[in-house]
Structure formats: structure tokens, C-alpha cells
Amino acid sequence: MHRQWRKWLLIIGMVGLVVETLSLTAVAAEQFHSPGWDQTTQANEDALLLQKVVDGQLGRLDMNQIEQVLKRLDADVQANLPKLDIRSMIFRDGGSLRIDVPRLITGMIQYFLREIVLNFRLLGQLLLLVVLCASLQHLQVTWEKNAMGNLASSVSFLVILYISLKSFQAAVTVAKTTIEHMVEFMHAILPMLTALLAAAGAMASATVLHPILLTSVVVVSTLVKTIVLPLALIGIVLGVVGNMTKGFPGSSLGDLANKAAVVVLGLLCTGFLGVLTVKGALAPLVDGIGLKTAKFLAGRFVPVVGGVFSGAVEVVAGGSILIKSAVGVFGLFAVIVIASFSLLKLASILVIYRLVAALAAPIAESRVAGALNQMAGGLAVVLAAVGVTAVMFFVAITIVISLGNVAVMVQ
């Protein structure tokens, strides 16, 4: 019941994420078209100036790191990522990420179905062995209960266990590499975002947030990798061993470890979001004042060209905000795509485990179904760890995107 609840929460969360990104792309679009930028005296000249400013800033922006991280991703993920072309995102596409949402969703569904079909092999193998062992065991029941028969059926149980464990190992590897990819991506994109934040006039936000963001990303990913995932894995191993031997009460210990992993994950999520929200709420006000002062000083104390200059400050800040929003939206999208593909992969294996466990329960011994259910439970925790990490990174990028805009709005 509890797991069911968790799973639904995860699904709702993922749907929410997708909707959120779409609305954020809309926000990025609005920013460009919002009248704030061309309310000055010569709208056309300003637009040209903005384009020049954006071009100049983009020329100095080092995208190499992000591109390198993206190159290392799986082919499936790469195929579904939009092109990292900030300039055309801002100008040519009218301020939106060129995402073909239906195509992406059909791509994901296709991927999920393909994974299920791929894992059908696993399903077939497991079910076949379960049926074979069960039928051979029924032959045996007609005899008197003997130790040799038990031993022989233990061998078949071990074979079933081994095959399912191998697939489980593959799934865990997928989860680990996904978290690593996301962390690498965050390491590449966060410095760029905070630099742009600073360029947009939000100096205070940038100086306060940058170390906090980087530290919390590192802390979260490290804790997930060193505490949450190992706890989930220990839970699974204990559960599997508990099912292998009758006297050893490993299953309940395994459940305990699983629960501990979920609790740690929850605490981590709460702490991360709490820190980011508190820090993110304070800094922008200071920024707004800073930007206003710069404009005011330029307007008052620089003779003749001062008025133009104070306008230019705004345009430069606006250009940085545009780039930052574009890069940020791209980052949000990349995090979603990176996470969701491996989540789909894990989910398909989870489905197979549950299916085999349900089908095996009436025909085979209880320990076959027990072991498979244990593995499915552990895999659910691993899945939650990947999902929650993705959500946290997502929120971090969202906060950086919204910050600079607040700074400009305050003035």
C-alpha cells in the first residue's frame, strides 16, 4: 500500500515536471516579447543592441563543458534532447526551446515499450524456470518428503535467483550512471548559470547562491550515492539471502534498510529544498537595489552619454537574463530527459519483477515470489532515489532561472 502510494507520487511528480518545463519555456518566450524591453524611446535600435549584446555574451560563453557531458550520454537520450543552440533559441524560435513535445512523448513511450519487450526475454526465462521447477516438484510431492528433493529444488531456486539478480545488477548500474550523468551536467551548467546571473546584475544572488548550489548538489548526490543507494542495495541483499535460507530472518531486516533509505531520501529532499528556498528568497531584493544603484549612478554622474549608458546597463542585464533563461530551460529539459529515460528503464524491469512474482506465487514455492518481490521493492527505492535527485536538480535550476528575473523586476 505504502509503495503504491510512493509510486503514484513519483508519476504525478514526473508529469508535473513536464508541465512545469513547458510553462517555463512559455515564460522565457514572454520575457523576450514582454514590453519591458522595448518601451524605451527607440524600440528598433534597442532590439538591435540587445541582439549585439547577446551575441557578444554568447561569444564568450564556454559551452564546451556542457557539450562534452551531453556527448557522453546514451544514444537514446541524445536523440531526444533539443540542440544546444542558445542564439536560435532566443532569436529565431521566438524565445522558446524547439521541443516537439508529442514526438518526445511518443519517443518515451516507444522507449518504454521497447524496454518492456527487451525485458520480456527475462520474463520468459524466469517464468519458464518457475514453471519447470514447479512441475518437476509436483512429480516429487508424490514421494515421501526427502532432503535430496528439497536440495534439488533449491538448485532450481538458485538458478532463478541468479538470473533475476543479474538483471537487477544491470538496473542498479543504470541508476548509478544516471545519477552521475546528472551530477556532471549540473557541474557543467551551474557555473554558467550563476555567471549569467551575475552578469544580469544579480551579484548578491550569484555570490550567495553559487557556493550553496554547488555544495548542495554535491552533498545531495554524494549522500544519495553513499547512503541511500547502498541502504537500498543492502536491503535487497538481506532480503534475497533471507529468502535463500529459511532460518535467517533477512527479509524484515531488508525491509528496515529499505525504509531507512526512503527516510534518508525524504530528509535530504526537505533539507535541500529548504536551504535553496530560504537563500533564494533573500538575495534577489538586495540585487534589485544594486542594479538600481548602478543605473542611477550611471544616469546621474556620467555626463551627456549617461542616460544612454543607464539604458545600456538595462539592456546588458536583459541580454544576460535572456541567455540565462535559455540555458536554464535547456538545463531543465536535459535533466528531465536524462532522468526519465533511465526511470522508464528501471520501471520496466520493476514491472517485469512484479509480474513474475504474481504469476509465480500460485505455482512455485513462496520463496521465489518472496525474493522477486523483495527485489522489486528495492528497485522501487532505487527508482525513487533517481527520481528525487532529478527533482532536486530541477528545482535548483528553476530557482536560478527565477532569481535574476526577480532582481530586474524589483527595480
Binding site: 524456470l129 519447470l132 535430496m148 534439488a152 533449491s154 532450481s156 538458485l158 543479474k166 545488477q169
Partner: protein
């Protein structure tokens, strides 16, 4: 259908005969007759069993189960079956010690068959944790 009727008929007649022989103080003949019956019955029904195994193997090959695992399961079950027959015959003959020896040998053999898988599982678990 006809096969099983024949087998049951022969089995029942032999059982009656064996009881008769045992009463006449020729227990060794009783054991030999039992052994011969079991062997013939097993050989008689081996082709059907072979068909069964072939079907399982075929399905397993289609499902992509490595034949090594299949062999392992079938082998361990075969060892258990054969040893069970032998142990039961020895018990009927009154030789409990021999029966125990047969059972022990069978257990060791099955364990030896299962050990590679067990080791592989332990290794996989260690890799997952590591």
C-alpha cells in the same frame, strides 16, 4: 494409458510375489526382483521423459535461457530421483546404512552441481554492494 495399466499390473503381481518370496526366506531374490522391476520400468518410461526434457529444452532455447542453467536444474533433479530409487530399494532390503550412504552421496553431488550458481549469486551480491 495402456502403458500405465501394464506397469501397475506387473508391479502389483511382483509385490505379491516378493512378499511370498520373503516369507520363504529368500530376501535377496526379493531385492533383486525389485531392482530389476525398477530398472525396467525406468528404462521403459525413459523415452517419454526424454520427450519431456526435449520439449522443455526447446522452449528454454526459444526463451533464451542458457542451456547451462537448464542442464543444472535437470541434472540435480535426475540425481535426486535416481538416488531416491536406490535408497528406497536398500531400505526395503533392510540396509539402512547403505541407503544413508546413497542419500549422502546424492546430496553431495547436488551441492557440487549447485555450488557454481551459489558462488555466482554471492559474487553478484557482492558486486551490487560494492
Amino acid at each position: 494409458m495402456a502403458d500405465i495399466v501394464g506397469l501397475v499390473l506387473v508391479g502389483v503381481i511382483l509385490s505379491v510375489l516378493i512378499v511370498h518370496i520373503k516369507e520363504k526366506n529368500y530376501p535377496e531374490f526379493a531385492t533383486i526382483m525389485g531392482f530389476v522391476f525398477v530398472t525396467i520400468a525406468m528404462l521403459r518410461f525413459m523415452p517419454s521423459l526424454a520427450d519431456l526434457v526435449r520439449v522443455f529444452n526447446e522452449v528454454g532455447r526459444q526463451a533464451g535461457v542458457r542451456s547451462y542453467y537448464f542442464d543444472l536444474v535437470l541434472r540435480s533433479l535426475a540425481v535426486a530421483y535416481i538416488a531416491a530409487f536406490g535408497a528406497q530399494l536398500s531400505k526395503d532390503a533392510g540396509e539402512g546404512a547403505i541407503a544413508i550412504a546413497i542419500e549422502l552421496a546424492a546430496k553431495i553431488l547436488i551441492l557440487a552441481l549447485g555450488i557454481p550458481v551459489l558462488l555466482a549469486i554471492v559474487q553478484t551480491l557482492a558486486e551490487i554492494l560494492g
